[in-house]
Amino acid sequence: MREVSIVGVGLHPWGKFKDKTFVEIGTVAIANALKDADIEWNDVQAIFSGIYIFGGNAGHISGQYLESVFGETGIPVVNVYNACATGSAAIRMAYNSIAAGEVDTALAVGVDISPEGFLSAKSDNPRQDRDVLRWRMTGMPNPVYWALECRKRMAKYGTSAEDLARVKVVLSQYGSKNPNARYKKAYTLEDVANSLMVCDPLRLLEICATSDGAAAVILSASPGAIQRANRPVKIAATTMGSAHYGDPTLRISALSAPAVAEAPLLSESYSASRAAYKKAGIGPEDVDVLELPDNSSWHYLQYLETCGFCGEGEAEKMLRDGQTQIGGKLAVCPSGGFSSFGEAVGAQAIWQVVEASDQLRGRCGARQVPNARLAMAQTYGLMGNSGTTILKI
């Protein structure tokens, strides 16, 4: 398999755009990526597009709708959905298509315009769709799942309310320095500790918002494209993982979990990250920049352990000691994280890769990680979806 590089990236800002269509914001991201790569639309030989689930049939064939804007060229267009790991799936497919020699240059894109507030069930068949059960029978929106795991963690390792608040403080420092961030305020421990309790033990500022956004990445193995690119970034690995039997995590949208653990917590992320390290020939200690899926403060702490960046029960200490900050052992979410952007489901994993590649390309200004050579983007999607992308320059 040949080496594949990212030759251009593009974003539409994260925010709320109820009056726009997914096509409009997707177009902006793609146009920015083409410009960054300095290539023409005709150079794109395949499209891998995250499905936009709130867009009816149109959203399910988002790739075709976007292709139409730039010009239909008969190229393969695949629409893919893996919950919040959708972007990872798109990137991995683009990578595999190029690495196998099917095409030289491909586009991976994700867009999302989320409905306000809670994300709700889209069908009403309880036998088929567990979302219907967890809404109708137990009133469990997503943060409840995270709160339940967080409470377990607090009991097991002594995670304090201050630890949960500190995650937001650290993330907001970087969000305040990221011009693309939706939320740019830098918070103090007191601000966060006094914010509304939403789903005890998680407070408002410890749970990410939902946002609209679009992100695009152009991958290539074409020598011409790589030469034209402004600091191309190599993809060392891009993997996906699903859950293992015996994973004790209560996964959205399930109502049950095994009582006896036979697999790690968040086993899908464990699987994806270990496969990525193996493929890239590295270990977690080699990573300079990590964009992890901080849907809540719990995720931030848990993912450090799940991905092997510290031992079990040690994430709180790593955070308290400043080792997850720029200048520490590992720069965690120097983008400001989901905390500063909100999550745009289909676009989020691609956005993570855009941020990670920006770090390697030295484009991050006040939140630049010095000497960043190896970056990792780790996703988390409900019901056992995960992807890991490792980049190097």
Binding site: G117, F118, S120, A121, D124, P126, R127, Q128, R130, V132, L133, R134, W135, R136, M137, T138, G139, M140, P141, V144, A147, L148, E149, R151, K152, A155, L196, M197, V198, C199, D200, P201, Y245, P248, L250, A254, L255, S256, A257, P258, A259, V260
Partner: protein, 146 residues
């Protein structure tokens, strides 16, 4: 007499998930005789890799379990969660049953401030709302045992 009447007036919000005809409320699970896995609900099949998936039987979980985690929701869940009035803040618990499965559900009739991991709970029904026929539409829930 009154107890029987109350039972006749309860209908589950969704069928086949729990049983309250007898003295105690019991969650309706399934167990695979081949790989030993319990799953809930029965149509959320989860077998061990390589299992022949033969011999899946319906089982009723014990009425009592142990609280392995809890959360307190301060905001009402939007539709399709339907209740006759706001119940926020409300508790949600994860309960481990002796059969070897953890099941999530509302925590009701309990002091939310006093919740603690390890408490023994029992399964109860909880009335979400009354329907046009005057019946109590119920779901399963958990109550901390004193």
């Amino acid at each position: 007499m009154e107890k029987v009447q109350a039972q006749k007036d309860r209908v589950p919000a969704l069928p086949d998930l729990f049983d309250f005809a007898g003295d105690s409320v019991r969650i309706r699970s399934a167990r695979c005789a081949s790989c030993g896995t319990y799953f809930f609900p029965e149509y959320h099949a989860q077998h061990r890799s390589g299992c022949t998936r033969e011999g899946v039987e319906r089982v009723l979980l014990s009425n009592r379990g142990k609280l392995t985690s809890y959360a307190i929701e301060h905001y009402m869940c939007p539709p399709p969660f339907k209740t006759s009035a706001s119940i926020a803040p409300y508790g949600i618990g994860l309960v481990e049953f002796p059969e070897g499965i953890q099941v999530a559900g509302l925590i009701m009739e309990s002091d939310l401030d006093a919740l603690a991991i390890g408490q023994e709970v029992e399964t109860i029904t909880y009335t979400l709302y009354s329907n046009d026929a005057g019946q109590d539409v119920v779901t399963w829930a958990f109550r901390v045992l004193k």
